[in-house]
């Protein structure tokens, strides 16, 4: 990559109307945060997709490394007792 100036890349998160958490929807370029939010509005909510926007500079995101996938996520596999289906409840008790 050269030292050419390009608007930085921003990651866009949108909360839809249904009360779910902000969800990553994509990215875009913008010169600053203010414009990034407006661009996000124009690019990612053209079909009434959201009621709230977060933008964050892609370079500011700290991410887990793909190489560590095993140690990070595999251990959770064996904790089956965290899931409700692990427990058998007599049918006559009904819903629990």
């Amino acid at each position: 990559m050269t030292d050419r100036k390009e608007w930085p890349l921003w990651e866009v998160f949108i909360r839809s109307q249904h009360g779910l958490a902000h969800r990553h929807v994509g990215s875009l370029h913008a010169p600053d945060a203010e414009m990034a939010i407006k661009n996000a509005r124009d690019v990612y909510t053209r079909r009434n997709e959201g009621v709230s926007i977060w933008v964050v500079k892609a370079s500011d995101i700290a991410a887990s490394s793909p190489g560590e996938k095993g140690p990070l996520f595999d251990p959770a596999n064996s904790k089956v007792y965290r899931h409700p289906t692990f427990y058998e409840i007599p049918e006559e008790l009904g819903h629990m």
Partner: protein, 331 residues
């Protein structure tokens, strides 16, 4: 297609035994339909091929804005104007999503734009044909978007996560594009004799270029075989072309229009339409830069990019000044 004849840089498919352990693990993940995500290990050829394919696709969206954009100011009603503008705007969005997907592979949008502007990068042959009448806007929606959708729907399942997610968004948004095109054609086909003539003329001019969009037969192409193995290409060119013809011919009949192919007939035995030979010489010429609008399209794109440079720089400079002022204030 929007990405035609994408080279993979390989001259033959490696067998499992020939692969390095990393390559083998990579291929196994693809075979198991596990998505590949940015920053994960991937063969260099996979990365490069994807950049080429995704950027070709993005360039096609951006160049594709021109033939249709040509008619935004001349759309015949306020509603048609709004619909067409919204559609061309969507194409800018689709180009944007795709450039962003390509950027996850370690290339910048500016680099990709410069590849396009220098004529080094390719885009779909179809956008080098002119839009001469309003019916061409209908024909593009119906035929060109119809052909594109055929390719894009399976690509939603492709192996690269960001590409697959971009395609999902694009397919969702594009669902109205083909319909609006057919809607224009219906109005024309049921309109005055001049309008019907306009519709037939558009079909005559766009039919063969639409079939060319799928690219030449790739039954023997090592690149296609490799791309399919990587699951960044899902169907063969001939397969998609046949599907397109089978789907489109009845739609033309419904409009009362004639497909400009004397060899076109239903083959009951195959359960498909037989159709005439595509003029691949024309296709290769268009790809090589000799289509009716290649130079015009590229010139227009370069002009917009160059004339926008001072604007992009100004916004960048303003952001820097503002950040510096905020910092000075905090200090």
């Amino acid at each position: 297609m929007y990405a035609q004849m994408v080279k993979t840089g390989v001259d033959r498919i490696q067998s499992s035994e020939e692969m390095s352990p990393e390559e083998r693990a990579f291929q196994e993940r693809i075979d198991a339909d596990i998505k590949i995500e940015p920053k994960e290990w991937m063969p260099e050829a996979y990365r490069k091929t994807l950049i080429r394919q995704i950027s070709q696709h993005a360039h096609s969206e951006i160049i594709g804005m021109q033939p249709e954009g040509n008619w935004i100011t001349r759309a015949p009603t306020l509603e048609r104007k709004a619909i067409l503008l919204a559609k061309v705007q969507d194409e800018a969005g689709h180009g944007l999503y795709l450039y962003c997907a390509a950027e996850t592979l370690g290339v910048s949008r500016d680099e990709l734009m410069e590849q396009l502007n220098s004529g080094k990068a390719k885009y779909s042959s179809i956008f080098n044909y002119p839009t001469l009448t309003w019916a061409d806007i209908g024909a593009i929606g119906w035929l060109v978007d119809g052909a594109a959708i055929m390719n894009q729907v399976p690509l939603q399942r492709c192996s690269y996560g960001p590409y697959s997610r971009a395609m999902i968004r694009i397919c969702k948004e594009e669902s109205f594009h083909q319909r609006q095109g057919y809607d224009i054609m219906m109005k024309l086909a049921r309109g005055t004799p001049e309008q019907k003539q306009m519709a037939q003329d558009a079909l005559n001019r766009w039919w063969w270029p639409s079939l060319m969009m799928f690219g030449p037969s790739d039954a023997d192409s090592v690149h296609s075989a490799q791309s399919m193995k990587w699951k960044i290409k899902i169907n063969s060119n001939d397969e998609l072309r046949q599907k397109f013809v089978d789907q489109t011919v009845p739609q033309a009949e419904y409009l009362g229009l004639t497909v400009p192919d004397p060899d076109l007939r239903w083959n009951a035995e195959r359960g498909h339409y037989d159709f005439g030979a595509v003029d691949w010489e024309e296709f290769y010429q268009v790809i090589a830069g000799n289509g009716p609008c290649n130079r015009q399209r590229l010139r227009t794109r370069v002009k917009a990019y160059e004339e926008g440079r001072w604007v992009r720089e100004a916004a960048e400079a303003y952001a820097a000044k503002k950040a510096a002022r905020a910092q000075a204030k905090a200090a």
